[in-house]
Symmetry: C2
Subunit: 196 residues, 2 copies
DNA sequence: TTCATTAGTGAATGAATATTCATTTATATT
DNA sequence: AATATAAATGAATATTCATTCACTAATGAA
């Protein structure tokens, strides 16, 4: 039996992400992907059932990889302030170090693959994040409100900042660089609001 | 000379938005749009130069329509607290009352049309929002930081909440409804942080 | 009413695109 | 080394899709 070339599989995955981001869903085709990989189109159909399967699998794999990074060194039992800061650190790092994947996931979020993506994120984060929030409420570190509100206040500004940074677009005219200082000063404002 | 049927033009626009959201960029085709409208494909090419032109024009028109709503009753000279609340009110109303358009714009944001969309929003908002921020800083209602940081802290949570609501996905398991109470309690947390 | 002009159409057309197939090639096992 | 098995391929195939074209139908202007 002949073994599947792992490097080739990885190459396909990497190029797929690159092309999806570069061309968007509109422009992404199996033939372009094959050409970009220097591989026969038929090979893609050995790895994946069809185009949909390819996008979905690569998408979900990346979601899982990113999620794992986001939960590194995060302890649901830690104090709210400490836990939130760890989350920020992880998420910022994750997105800044994986800009292509982050953009692809953004695209998937606002596409017909939305549901699957959301479900996967939900399954992974529900338990640790839920427990963390529950603890914080019990310790009276934050007031009780729907989990969605917390999520939005806690991470909304972060993702917004990261989006500006990734898209390289500046509201102020001046070039916008996402320094630690900028990141933390914005967060600081939110933190002040979250602390009891 | 024969006049163009305005109702038909409007129908095409409306159905285009519906189909783009329902099928995503991957699934949206001129033939499907024509069929959904009960119109010949060729007719679409009377209204628009090509598929790209159709998407771009409809997208930008909607961006402008939404922007106008977002700036209703907004006075750059008002106090920071008042102005920000007005912006929240407008943006929430805008998105809750135009869910399809909002979703389409989200899709455009993370597609290859990104640049044009961003540029248009930028042109419309730069002046009023810039002046508003400038005033707030001068009056020492908020501390000085990049416009992007303000934007993110001020609107990040809102858009995040609205996204949960639109996507009907709940982190907590319990159904999530975006009541005024939820909206304002989340904002309140942010506002506490923004106020000096 | 007549006419010129543009709206609107149904049926092509040709280019892409997703997918398959008949072979060839590499390699793990014997 | 021989063999079996699956990987990999290049060239089809069948389908879908954007766009065009030859033609008909309205309608504003004269």
């Amino acid at each position: 039996m002949r073994a599947r070339d792992i490097n080739k599989v990885e190459l396909v995955k990497q190029k797929a992400i690159e092309l999806l981001v570069e061309l968007g869903f509109e422009g992404f085709t199996m033939n372009k992907l094959a050409k970009a990989c220097g591989v026969s189109v038929a090979t893609l159909y050995i790895y994946y059932k069809d185009k949909d399967d390819l996008i979905q699998n690569i998408g979900l794999e990346e979601v899982q990889r990113m999620s794992a990074i986001m939960l590194e060194d995060f302890d649901p039992e830690s104090s709210f302030s400490e836990g939130l800061r760890q989350q920020w650190k992880n998420r910022a790092k994750c997105i800044l170090e994986n800009p292509l994947t982050a953009q692809m996931i953004e695209q998937l979020r606002s596409s017909t693959y939305q549901e699957k993506i959301f479900q996967t994120f939900g399954e992974i984060f529900k338990e640790p994040l839920g427990k963390f929030m529950h603890n914080a409420i019990e310790r009276e570190e934050i007031v009780d409100m729907p989990l969605e509100s917390y999520w939005s206040v806690a991470f909304g500004p972060l993702y917004s900042l990261l989006r500006f940074h990734n898209e390289g677009k500046s509201l102020s005219g001046k070039p916008f660089v996402l320094t630690d200082e900028v990141l933390w000063s914005a967060f600081d404002v939110v933190l002040k609001g979250l602390k009891k």
